[in-house]
């Protein structure tokens, strides 16, 4: 019996078109733009100015407040400007514009391919290194990793969980990374274990990736503390609360973080980035991005430099702009629909999905037939039809009492609704308003 989370979940078609496509590097174009806000928390502060020459791996911006991260240059080139660019929502945000001249690296970076499995640094130094190398959570939330590794007073970490689930349809970047860099990932896991002071780690992988499960199990077998656990294919198995429940049976209490039940969850891509940072002194300046979808002729996985515009990836993968309906950054369940293809790839972009025109339009909205499919599908045990309705009629006290803030915005409710009602749209607005109300109440 494969492990899984207890409540809710849906089964969208997996459509992993690019699962057999090895990771290929893609050259950056002549100009890249590195947004200053690539992680949760405050935007980074630039330490370069217009006209400066930089090498790949040089620091571009530092993180000053507690929750923020460092930014490094992915290329060698000249700083053209620090100006606004149009982000995924069409709003203007600051970024560093770099004119690309080559890919000459900073001398301190170890560029060799040699596998380094000995971990020489101690716990606190590991965390400092991770901070300086700008590593953030690559699962999509982009929480600064060094902050996650600093356990708050009074809490104890017992278990490290590596999230190799990749439950979103179409995406395969984590899958390919596990197949092509398994030993580096295991080493990264060991580094994280040392930083946290834990002796146990579980790598959770969905059962639709048997090759990755076998490969990682083989390499983990030399380390008794590391276990690989296959999981049933069900969305959203990759949500950290669902993953913790499936692997340990523990439920993270409402409003609290995983550390409350002694767990720390890191994405498998983050484990790899930690390996690069600690063993090779290599900052986070590139990541694996899946480019896929029914519109794309060659679904592929690219190793992309941060700041490369999405259009460069789409060209290489052979998209068909005349037929394209939606270009989505991320997966189809939680990703963001882009306004144009000129936005840059950032640390949190795990994939670009292009859907054809017809499939991109939503079905017609019909009245709620009280079928309770949304209640069955919600992995957090909420009642989406009710929360959407009270948010729509602006009764936010009822929404707060209905635990609307527990919603992880996975989209299972809107996915399954036979009447195609925009449940998650209303719930998102409700969450926003309830948060505003709580903030003003606490002032």
């Amino acid at each position: 019996m494969l492990k899984t989370f207890k409540k809710g979940g849906v089964h969208p078609h997996e459509n992993k078109f690019s699962a057999n496509s090895p990771i290929q590097p893609i050259d950056p174009p002549q100009k890249i733009f590195v947004p200053l806000s690539q992680s949760l928390g405050a935007p980074s502060k630039p330490v370069v100015k217009k006209g400066d020459e930089v090498k790949a791996g040089d620091i571009l911006a530092t993180g000053e407040s507690f929750i923020s991260s460092y930014l490094h240059s992915p290329v060698s080139g000249k700083i053209e400007n620090i100006d606004d660019f149009i982000d995924v929502s069409g709003y203007r945000k600051p970024a560093i514009f770099i004119e690309v001249t080559g890919s000459e690296w900073n001398a301190s970076v170890n560029l060799s391919d040699e596998l380094k499995e000995d971990i020489t640094l101690e716990g606190a130094s590991i965390i400092q290194k991770v901070k300086e190398m700008g590593v953030v959570g690559l699962g999509g939330a982009t929480f600064p990793t060094h902050v996650k590794l600093m356990i708050p007073q009074g809490k104890k970490a017992e278990l490290l969980i590596i999230n190799g689930v990749e439950c979103e349809p179409y995406l395969t970047s984590d899958h390919r990374l596990m197949l092509e860099k398994p030993r580096e990932i295991i080493t990264g896991t060991r580094i994280l274990m040392k930083a946290l002071g834990v002796t146990r780690a579980i790598i959770g992988i969905e059962n639709n990736k048997p090759d990755a499960i076998n490969l990682l199990s083989k390499h983990a077998s030399s380390y008794p503390g590391i276990e690989v656990c296959p999981l049933r294919v069900k969305y959203p198995q990759g949500g950290e609360k669902q993953l913790i429940q499936a692997l340990t049976g523990r439920e993270v209490p409402s409003g609290k973080l995983p550390i409350e039940v002694g767990c720390i969850v890191q994405n498998v891509g983050t484990a790899f980035a930690v390996y690069q940072a600690v063993q090779k002194n290599r900052p986070l300046v590139e990541r694996v991005v899946t480019v896929t979808g029914t519109n794309v002729l060659h679904p592929s996985n690219f190793l992309v430099k941060i700041g490369t515009p999405v259009s460069a990836l789409l060209e290489k993968a052979g998209w068909q702009p005349e037929k394209a309906g939606k270009v989505i950054a991320g997966g189809p369940m939680m990703g963001k629909a882009l306004l144009n293809a000129d936005v840059p790839i950032v640390k949190g972009t795990s994939g670009i999905l292009v859907l054809n025109g017809k499939e991109s339009l939503r079905p017609k909205v019909q009245p709620c037939i009280r079928c309770a499919q949304c209640v069955s599908a919600c992995p957090m045990g909420l009642e989406p039809y009710y929360l959407a309705r009270v948010s729509e009629v602006e009764k936010f006290d009822l929404a707060e009492n209905g635990a609307i803030l527990d919603c992880i915005e996975c989209g299972s409710c809107q996915y399954i609704c036979p009447s195609a009602r925009p449940l998650l749209d209303h719930i998102r607005l409700g969450k926003l308003k309830v948060n505003q109300i709580i903030r003003s109440r606490n002032q």
Partner: protein
């Protein structure tokens, strides 16, 4: 390049639609419908056609001319109401009474309350009860199953009481249960008995129920709690006094309990939204059904039981919430 489409996530949608649910229910009803036609002949077919046609027509007319909205008869919900109404009345019901029943079901119970998804009570059941009270004679004249296949087109079939009707009248005359000639379990299971043409065949209804569970149109909670409660309650009564109270297996197989538990109580719009709510709903229906059958004036209590519980559903929804992930007490 065409303008890109922008919206919030999720960007894909599951395959379940209102139409697919409605057609799933129709397919699930097919075995019981075919059994009804087999046992009662052409009368069942005519009642079905008249019922479905009037339900669809009334919905179309009311939406287009009274409410001035785009008619939504394509979603199949009126077809399901028509089919369920037909299967809950005798196959010999005059066609014009079927039409009146359809008007009540669609016009009053569904449209007057706001249309699809907004009705408080089960439309087919209210229509059935309305017909029962307005036309008591025709609604309690039960054709018996056709003796030979040659009589399929014969409208002057023999009529007789239903198993529950027999039970009630004979008990009132002072007979004990053992003395009353009730149909065998085999006949009850296959449907070779008198009654509404859709309710007679237990096995066909159960097959339909399993199909709906497989398609995830309904969950197990209501049918199981309804049937189990009725079984236990009637079982207790039977243990106490087997002379006055029939055995629980008879109660489950006879009358409209199976069609009620599997198709009527599980109506999506009028049943509770949470697992515990559904179980309480089923228990209430089971208790009320047996109470009305045993202590009430009517031989059959399923329709009334379900309608009474429908009235409680808003309260049940308020009282029973699903268990939240990580709920902090």
């Amino acid at each position: 390049m065409n303008p890109l489409i922008v919206s919030g996530s999720p960007h894909i949608h599951g395959e379940m639609t209102i139409k697919s649910i409605m057609w799933g229910v129709v397919i699930a009803l097919l075995p019981a419908w075919l059994a009804g036609v087999w046992f009662f002949g052409i009368g069942a077919v005519i009642v079905t056609l008249v019922s479905i046609a009037s339900c669809v027509l009334f919905e179309f007319l009311i939406q287009k001319f009274v409410l001035k909205q785009e008619p939504t008869v394509n979603d199949g919900s009126a077809v399901v109401t028509g089919l369920l109404l037909a299967m809950n009345v005798p196959s010999s019901l005059p066609w014009w009474q079927v039409v009146i029943g359809s008007l009540v079901a669609i016009g009053i119970v569904k449209m007057a309350f706001g249309g699809l998804g907004k009705n408080l009570f089960n439309p087919a059941l209210i229509a059935r009860v309305f017909l029962l009270i307005s036309f008591p004679v025709t609604m309690t004249t039960w054709p018996l199953p056709i003796e030979s296949r040659a009589n399929v087109f014969n409208f002057d079939g023999v009529t007789g009481p239903t198993p529950l009707g027999t039970l009630k009248t004979q008990l009132a005359m002072g007979q004990t249960v053992a003395q009353i000639k009730l149909p065998s379990y085999t006949n009850l299971l296959w449907g070779n008995i008198g009654g509404s043409f859709g309710e007679v065949s237990a096995i066909a209804l159960i097959i339909g129920g399993i199909y709906m569970l497989y398609r995830k149109i309904i969950t197990w909670h209501i049918p199981v709690s309804f049937i189990l409660t009725a079984f236990i309650f009637s079982g207790i009564l039977c243990l106490v006094n087997p002379n006055r109270y029939a055995d629980p297996v008879f109660h489950i197989l006879a009358g409209g309990l199976l069609i009620g538990a599997i198709f009527m109580a599980t109506d999506l719009v009028t049943s509770p939204m949470t697992a515990w709510g559904k179980i309480i709903f089923g228990i209430g229906c089971g208790v009320l059904t047996i109470l009305i059958r045993v202590f009430g004036a009517y031989p059959e209590g399923v329709s009334f039981a379900i309608l009474i519980m429908n009235a409680f559903v808003p309260l049940i929804d308020r009282a029973f919430k699903p268990k939240r992930f990580g709920e902090v007490k």
